[in-house]
């Protein structure tokens, strides 16, 4: 390490960077936190084994041997009574549908086996996500089988039949028929045009009814600014692939902002090296986000400095001079460079901001107008419907409720008692509402305050549709008969309007009247069938918006921003930046164990939210990782453990929203802290940053279940990168230390196929969607916080995240890491029972039934990708997440075995998928086209970073990609283990 250039070394944690003695001692030990079996995890005391216990276990052992010799128990085989003609048991069927995991409304394909959905993948035909799907979307299949969902209608908390519920609600509604008080339908963003029209129809029956839309994490600022300037409340549809220069002020568009999968697809298309110009991304932000980690130039700054920086950028573009941006840390010079680049790329650039402040968004509109980006990289004639929330209308609703002006409240798809910043007022106001109906299928924080529950289906159980972007339609169709006694919201509303109609017909009718005429098709029947089959369609609707020059109307916004930044200069104290985490987003899916255990792509924290602070601030406060600090905001104190985060703007603390649920369910309750209460939202739109927070230490500390800091890099060149200019002059830049080593052993000969993988680290954005894809495909168990803390998480693929250089603003690298299927596999040579051996087609096979659990292989694996199965997760009460629950078991993939305790497991390169395609082709009598095999991680990748295929076939996609590719390298290639997984160097578009 000492001889190498320290500046160019990647590091994974501060401990490693500083090579602290504690760290060096820790890396020597097999187990972090020292917990060999037989030691109490809490007290770290050895567990006593008495003579009695010893005899007991011996006796049990003998008894179980005897039991094993008795005849096996009878197993039932229960066929259908009437087998549907189109179903063959044992075959997977795929249905196109729409994901409602968030409001992006991506198109999906649902894999069903024996009539139950087991996996969700992106629909390649969809114009939105184009085949990719995020972690949240893929994990939503688990929520279908969540036994914590409402299992039927409730009247004042008591189970009733649907008829009785309808009677009760109708009786109440009839009383309200002539009431002049408000009847309010409070929903999240609804992308479904049919549902929107059904709600409108329902509300039209009442004289004073309205529909209030509320997003926990809102884009009100953008909508307001467009309303102010163009006279139409519209969210632009962004096209990051059409921009050569992308500037983002705080918007994490690759991770969470508006439609992350779509944006990731677009972004990665603009970053391909084979085209003329690679796009360049500038990110101005406080906490390190996924987008910031992928930025070519990242400028960390305080949340309060962002507003004036946006203004500074406008000034610089207009006049070349900056008057308003912050002076410190060279922010101005960065803005100047950004402005120059933007001006060079007029009409081919894009400036976005996640600010919810209308003034800031007005300036952003103006900047994009000057640059001529409207109509190119952002469009308002075919705008987006993915965020519709209106902050002020919820504020007004709460005010009206408190004044007793609201008679009835229906809620659907949101949870203000948890996520509204002033939830106390909301709850108080709710008490004055006489009819309270929840249509959500969970009894969450808000729903449990309601009188009537008419639980909606899970989206995989019901008909529906969506129009995420104007002119782009998705269909949603049931893929399973309802698991519980729920009813689709559309049907509930139809019933309450006295319309006896199946919701399927409602959707169909809407499509016939509103979608079909614009489709350019001749017959509705064939159009409908095709749409249901494809899951999506496009129409040629344009809703032209009159262009107006923002220059004349933004002078007030400029004044406001200047006034605010003047005010802020004098303020003292900490600034808090609130963000959505990639896994949990706004917290709606908090009861999903896959998402809780998905490590945050940046902090690598699971099962918790923490206070991310810079190392400078940590020194100032004298706190270490895990120490709990108390943050006082608006008179309330929040206690959170510290995560020292490189790249965090000094003076700011980043906190993830979406945690601290109290009524999420058995998995999500009490995980982390709810920080929605910190939001600022008195007069204007809600602000996702807070000034003047007081921070103090508490003297206590908490365990953090982090998945990285495990294993030291030992200074090896594991991740390789270069700048674009270096690459242009030499494609092998950053990848020159390749050596050809002498082989001591005879090589494995791969006949026929030779499976391999190529991972383009230049495309990988680190979103971690592949981790959930793998978990869903391969029945990877959830182990819980305690076990993650003991570093026994089971994920077959992980996303390593490395930092390089300045810890105040490091370069970040992401590297998906799974079994490398080495030709000279070190694991194979140490297994005493031949449980891990090489296959003829180049796979490193793990044979669970042969494994006796010596763990030698994991010990000898240089990549540390082997996972030992410590507990019988599928039958152990201590791991009550989903596998041990009868409903949750239905989400398992029947083509992959559920591993038992005491065996080693690891990535199999989705051998079940290889086998499936091989058989399919063999039966058709055609040679296998290996590009047709898509392994789970590859399939889910929104940035197409992973390619799998046959290395022996020169025509395969992977062979073409790797052939003479100077960027190709193998991790730890110097060990001569000859991995089948190849990586391509990352190219950064910077000086």
């Amino acid at each position: 390490m000492s001889q190498r250039d320290k500046k160019n070394q990647y590091w994974r944690s501060f401990d490693e960077k500083e090579q602290s003695p504690a760290f060096l001692k820790e890396v020597e030990e097999e187990f972090a936190n020292g917990i060999p079996p037989g030691v109490d995890a809490e007290t770290h005391e050895p567990l006593p084994v008495s003579r009695r216990d010893f005899l007991k276990y011996m006796g049990f052992g003998l008894a179980s041997v005897a039991a094993a010799c008795s005849p096996i128990p009878t197993e039932k085989a229960i066929p259908y009574l009437v087998q549907p003609e189109e179903i063959v048991p044992g075959k997977a069927y795929w249905y196109a549908s729409t994901c409602f995991g968030c409001s992006s409304a991506c198109g999906i394909l649902v894999k069903t086996r024996e009539g139950r959905p087991i996996k969700i993948e992106g629909n390649a035909e969809s114009a939105i996500n184009q085949g990719g799907l995020c972690a949240t979307g893929q994990a939503s299949v688990l929520e279908l089988y969540d036994s914590g969902r409402l299992q039927g209608p409730l009247d004042q908390g008591k189970k009733v039949g649907w008829d009785n519920l309808d009677k009760a609600v109708l009786a109440k509604l009839n009383e309200l028929q002539d009431s002049q008080k408000q009847i309010v339908f409070l929903t999240g963003t609804i992308t479904s045009p049919t549902l929107k029209s059904t709600i409108d129809q329902f509300l039209s029956k009442y004289p004073n009814a309205k529909h209030v839309v509320y997003d926990a994490v809102s884009a009100s600022g953008i909508l307001d600014a467009h309303e102010f300037i163009f006279g139409k409340r519209i969210l632009p549809h962004y096209r990051f692939d059409k921009a050569r220069t992308i500037v983002s002020f705080g918007a994490d568009f690759l991770g969470t902002w508006i439609s992350p999968v779509e944006f990731a697809k677009q972004f990665s298309r603009g970053r391909k090296l084979d085209q003329k110009n690679m796009s360049q991304l500038y990110q101005f932000e406080s906490g390190l986000s996924l987008t910031g980690a992928n930025a070519d130039i990242r400028v960390p700054l305080l949340p309060s400095q962002i507003d004036s920086s946006v203004l500074g950028l406008l000034e610089c573009i207009e006049t070349g001079e900056i008057k308003s941006a912050p002076q410190d840390n060279g922010i101005r010079s960065q803005i100047k460079k950004t402005a120059e680049n933007l001006k060079k790329n007029k009409g081919r650039s894009l400036v976005v901001s996640n600010s919810n402040d209308i003034d800031v968004q007005n300036i952003v509109v103006r900047i994009n107008q000057i640059l001529g980006n409207y109509g190119h990289a952002l469009r308002i004639d075919q705008g987006s419907n993915q965020k519709k929330g209106h902050d002020k209308s919820l504020d007004r609703l709460v005010h009206d409720m408190k004044n007793g002006q609201v008679e009835a409240l229906f809620i659907y798809g949101n949870n203000p008692a948890y996520s509204y910043f002033d939830s106390k007022s909301f709850v108080e106001g709710l008490e004055k509402v006489s009819l309270k109906v929840s249509l959500d299928n969970r009894n969450h924080e808000t729903a449990q305050l309601m009188d009537y529950h008419a639980p909606d289906h899970h989206f995989l159980e019901s008909w529906g549709d969506s129009e995420p972007v104007e002119g782009v339609f998705h269909i949603s169709q049931p893929t399973i008969r309802p698991v519980y006694s729920t009813r689709s919201i559309g049907e509930s509303l139809n019933n309450w309007m006295g319309i006896k109609e199946d919701y399927q017909d409602t959707v169909k009718k809407y499509w016939e009247d509103q979608v079909f005429p614009y489709s350019g098709q001749l017959l509705f029947d064939s159009f409908w069938k095709k749409s249901v089959h494809d899951g999506c369609c496009k129409t040629n609707q344009f809703k032209p918006v009159k262009q107006r020059d923002a220059a004349q109307v933004i002078s007030e916004s400029v004044k406001q921003i200047l006034k605010k930044s003047k005010m802020l200069e004098s303020k003292q104290g900490w600034e808090i930046h609130l963000y959505e985490s990639v896994a949990l987003r706004d917290g709606q899916s908090a009861n999903n164990p896959w998402l809780q255990e998905l490590p945050d792509p940046i902090t690598k924290l699971t099962w918790d939210n923490a206070a991310n602070i810079s190392s400078k601030d940590a020194k100032k406060l004298n706190v270490k990782q895990g120490d709990v600090i108390a943050i006082k905001v608006k008179g309330r104190t929040y206690k959170l453990p510290v995560v020292i985060q490189p790249g965090q703007a000094s003076g700011s603390i980043s906190l993830a929203l979406g945690y601290g649920r109290t009524k999420a369910g058995k998995v999500g309750n009490g995980v982390g802290q709810n920080v929605y209460g910190m939001l600022n939202g008195s007069n204007a739109n809600w602000n996702y940053y807070v000034q003047n927070a007081l921070v103090s230490t508490t003297g206590t500390s908490e365990k953090l279940a982090l998945t990285q800091t495990h294993y030291s890099l030992e200074g090896r060149p594991i991740f390789k990168d270069a700048t674009l200019n270096q690459y242009k002059s030499d494609p092998a830049a950053g990848n020159k230390d390749q050596v050809d080593l002498v082989m001591l052993w005879e090589q494995h000969k791969t006949e026929g196929h030779s499976w391999g993988m190529a991972i383009d680290t230049n495309a990988c954005i680190g979103c971690s969607g592949c981790m959930v894809g793998c978990q869903s495909e391969n029945n990877v168990p959830v182990v819980g916080k305690e076990e993650v803390y003991h570093r026994r998480e089971m994920s077959w693929i992980r996303l390593d995240r490395y930092y390089k250089g300045d810890e105040e603003n490091p370069e970040v690298a992401f590297q998906p890491m799974m079994c490398q299927h080495c030709a000279n596999a070190p694991c194979e040579s140490v297994c005493p029972v031949l449980a891990t051996v090489h296959s003829a087609d180049g796979l490193n096979q793990q044979v669970y039934n042969r494994c006796v659990g010596t763990r030698y292989c994991a010990n000898n694996c240089p990549y540390k990708v082997r996972r030992f199965n410590w507990f019988d997760y599928a039958h152990n009460k201590s791991f009550d997440y989903y596998m041990n629950d009868n409903a949750g078991k239905l989400a398992l993939n029947p083509d992959v075995v559920v591993r038992s305790r005491g065996v080693m497991e690891k990535c199999s390169m989705c051998v079940q998928r290889i086998q499936e395609k091989k058989l399919e082709y063999r039966k058709q009598g055609k040679p296998l086209n290996s590009d047709d095999i898509k392994v789970a991680c590859q399939q889910s990748c929104p940035s197409d970073a992973i390619v799998f295929g046959d290395l022996n076939d020169p025509k395969s996609q992977i062979s073409k990609l790797l052939h003479k590719n100077k960027r190709r390298y193998q991790v730890l290639g110097e060990l001569n283990v000859k991995p089948a997984v190849n990586y391509l160097t990352k190219i950064r578009n910077k000086e």
């Binding site: 066929p79 009437v82 087998q83 669970y848 039934n849 086998q915």
Partner: protein, 188 residues
């Protein structure tokens, strides 16, 4: 001295014998060869497949298309039995199941461990192996029984001996020569 030698040889012999018995019996754990449970409906393959010569695939239609051969649904039985032998006690049971919407709970005869992936489609659909190769003379069984031991050794034996035509050529190879002995062909 000789007595001691004989004595220790004897002990070795006894221990060796015990070990061989142990290994023999251990290899029989989970082996269900000959298992022939009484089924809820006294269905006879001998009558249907043997005497009446009904094709296996008429009822077990998944054999060529799916990993599971499949047990026919009650409606398949009734395709014929709405006209034939309606009064039989056993047929009444099927009728009753359909009327009451209670699926028939057959006892599974051929049971493989969870960690083995066996595909009928691969063997019957693609490999064109006859059902009797593994299931024995089903057409002579009044009560269905497990004919072979279904052990891994038995599987591997066939993979070593069976011929396969290499795709796109007329070459004939053994299954084992084309990766048929790889663990991950069946274990995943």
């Amino acid at each position: 001295m000789t007595r001691k030698l004989i004595f220790s040889l004897l002990i070795l012999l006894v221990v060796g014998f015990l070990i061989s018995i142990f290994i023999e019996s251990a290899s029989q754990v989970g082996n269900n060869q000959g298992y022939a449970p009484t089924q809820p409906i006294a269905f006879s393959h001998k009558l249907h497949a043997g005497e009446n010569e009904i094709q296996c695939l008429y009822c077990h239609s998944g054999s060529e298309r799916s990993r599971h051969a499949g047990i026919p649904s009650a409606s398949i039985c009734m395709n014929c039995h709405t006209n034939i032998k309606q009064d039989s006690e056993e047929i009444q049971k099927i009728k009753q199941a359909l009327e009451e919407q209670k699926p028939i709970q057959w006892k599974k005869v051929h049971r493989l461990a969870d960690f083995v992936y066996f595909s009928h489609e691969q063997h019957v659909g693609s490999g064109e192996i006859s059902c009797q190769t593994c299931h024995g003379p089903v057409d002579k069984m009044a009560i269905m029984r497990q004919e072979e031991d279904l052990s891994m050794g038995w599987c591997i034996d066939c993979h070593r001996k069976a011929d396969i035509v290499v795709h796109g050529t007329t070459d004939v190879k053994k299954v084992s020569d084309t990766g048929g002995m790889d663990c991950a062909k069946c274990h995943y």
